[in-house]
């Protein structure tokens, strides 16, 4: 597994980080240490996928906030041909990327997919997501321990004439 | 999209609704008329889905004892069925107007 690039994580720090991530899940405690997500846990981020809104999901997954960056190129259609299959991809020129995630703001659960990018893997992902309705799609890239984002609105509606 | 639909139903629907509450006999008569028109439309292979659902709604309301609603739904079903019959007959020739030549 890759070593984290942030402050050298002593055992105590990781435990504290893990503890506060868990507490954070309840969404009421301010967050202290910020473990780089890729190293912190290898298991499925169940907590983050349970969050309804985007901000909680980002906190639960990364434990920090992102800043928009034009180095993150998010490619999504203007009008989705179908809400069930929306081709969305992201690529970035940032380096030391450890994780990429996609959020669909007004979906029942904001976090759609999260990818871990080990060393040697290029920082770009394409996938097909479901979108409940017209809303913002956000791609988050974790590079060198910091979070960068790009957002785009995708219009979604049903097709057909009546029925 | 010019929505032109030769609808005899509109004339039928604009009749003044009867003042006293509908009873089962009124409903049965209206339902029979609606069903006959619906069968004729189906016979012309031009049935509408809304006719079928209006008939079903009429039956359901009648089973529930609400004959006012049942009568209204049966009348609507009949009007819709008549409209689809009118559509089928007028389209027998009207389709040529749209044909690419």
């Amino acid at each position: 597994m890759t070593t984290t690039t942030g402050p050298h994580p002593t055992r105590r720090l990781i435990l504290q980080g893990a503890a506060s991530v868990a507490l954070l899940g309840l969404g009421n405690l301010p967050f202290t240490a910020a473990p780089a997500r890729a190293a912190a846990n290898d298991k499925y981020p169940d907590e983050a996928f349970k969050q309804k809104n985007e901000a909680d999901a980002i906190k639960a997954l990364y434990g920090k906030t992102a800043e928009p960056s034009d180095k993150v190129k998010l490619d999504a259609p203007e009008i989705a041909e179908n809400g069930g299959v929306v081709p969305i991809s992201v690529t970035t020129t940032l380096d030391k990327v450890t994780s990429i995630s996609f959020f669909v703001a007004e979906n029942p659960f904001a976090l759609a997919a999260s990818y871990r990018i080990p060393d040697g893997t290029l920082p770009s992902v394409a996938n097909r997501l479901k979108m409940a309705k017209t809303t913002n799609v956000t791609a988050l890239v974790e590079a060198d321990g910091k979070l960068y984002s790009a957002t785009k609105e995708v219009k979604v509606t049903v097709g057909g004439c009546g029925g | 999209m010019k929505l032109s639909l030769p609808l005899a139903m509109l004339l039928a629907l604009s009749l003044a609704p009867s003042a006293r509450a509908a009873n089962e006999a009124d409903y049965k008569a209206a339902y029979a008329a609606a069903e006959a028109a619906s069968k004729e439309a189906a016979g012309m292979r031009n049935q509408w889905t809304v006719t079928v659902s209006a008939l079903a709604a009429a039956k359901k309301a009648a089973d529930g004892g609400d004959f006012d609603r049942a009568l209204a739904a049966a009348k609507e079903a009949e009007a819709l069925a008549k409209a689809s019959i009118f559509q089928a007959t007028s389209e027998k020739e009207a389709w040529k107007a749209m044909e690419i030549r």
Binding site: P77, N82, V85, G163 | P6, E93, I100
Partner: protein, 287 residues
């Protein structure tokens, strides 16, 4: 919401128009001339969309809109009908209980022949579509027929379409008055308005291809069956021609006919004939 008043005005004007048009025009259109019809049909679309390459019409909505075309090309890299294709190939090579297989029912073993379907069967005096021929093949070999709107039929036709990809649609109308009548009946069905919405196939696919109907871009009628069967994201599954006709009917609030009804077979015959010369692009991926 019952749009009463506009319908009343609409109906009066329509009745008037219908009356005016039927009297003089009917004389000219009596003799059925499929060759002229096909030429007029194709020219209509070539002139209406001069910068769409002729063979692109078979890509339906994607020939009409760049943003949609990009989404389609992304999907085509690894198309969602991949599984139906493999299933179809497997079914095609698995013999029936009596040892025979689909290959024995079709010319050239069923490979690369989709472009000749539907054809007019002079013995039966009716149009036979690929789906009907497949089910007849199953019944002739003691197997239960498949549903016309479910995945098995879609997988079989997907595989057969795939083996014909790129070949030009080549539908024949024999010199038989019943074949001409079937062609004309298909044309009549295509242009006839139905359902409470009072739309015909032409209302959408001739009058307004390229325009949106809520989220979807309407496909041009020219070449619309060349991509069949299609994987529709809306159904998140495969759809045969029968399924497409049935769902289109119910969208205009017309009660659909039974799959493979004469009208559906004839309209498939008409639409395929007028697309002669355009390539087969099935199986397709659509919104």
């Amino acid at each position: 919401m019952k749009p009463r008043i506009p319908l009343l005005l609409g109906s009066l004007s329509a009745a008037l128009v219908a009356f005016v048009l039927t009297s003089p025009g009917v004389v000219a259109a009596d003799k059925v001339d499929p060759v002229a019809d096909a030429k007029a049909f194709q020219n209509f679309f070539f002139q209406k969309f001069p910068n769409v390459k002729h063979e692109d019409f078979v890509n339906g909505p994607y020939s009409m809109n760049e943003d949609m075309k990009r989404q389609w090309q992304e999907k085509e890299e690894f198309p969602p009908y991949e599984f139906a294709l493999d299933a179809g190939k497997e079914m095609f090579s698995t013999p029936f209980k009596n040892g025979k297989s689909y290959a024995d029912c079709f010319p050239n073993g069923g490979i690369g022949i989709r472009q000749n379907y539907p054809y007019f069967d002079e013995k039966e005096g009716k149009v036979v579509t690929l789906e009907l021929a497949l089910n007849r093949c199953r019944e002739a070999n003691g197997e239960a027929p498949y549903s016309y709107v479910k995945d098995e039929m879609a997988s079989l036709t997907a595989y057969m379409a795939y083996t014909s990809r790129g070949k030009l649609m080549d539908i024949k109308i024999p010199d038989d008055p019943r074949a001409l009548a079937a062609f004309e009946n298909g044309k009549r069905y295509f242009y006839t308005r139905r359902g409470q919405m009072n739309f015909s196939c032409a209302s959408c696919h001739v009058q307004s291809p390229g325009e949106r109907i809520r989220a979807e871009i309407l496909a041009p009628a020219l070449g619309i069956l060349n991509a069949m069967p299609i994987y529709r994201s809306e159904w998140s599954g495969m759809g045969t021609t029968s399924r497409r006709f049935v769902t289109c009917n119910s969208q205009t609030r017309a009660v659909p006919l039974e799959p493979q009804a004469d009208e559906y077979r004839d309209v498939e015959y008409f639409l395929s004939y007028v697309a002669n010369g355009l390539p087969i692009s099935g199986p397709g991926a659509r919104p």
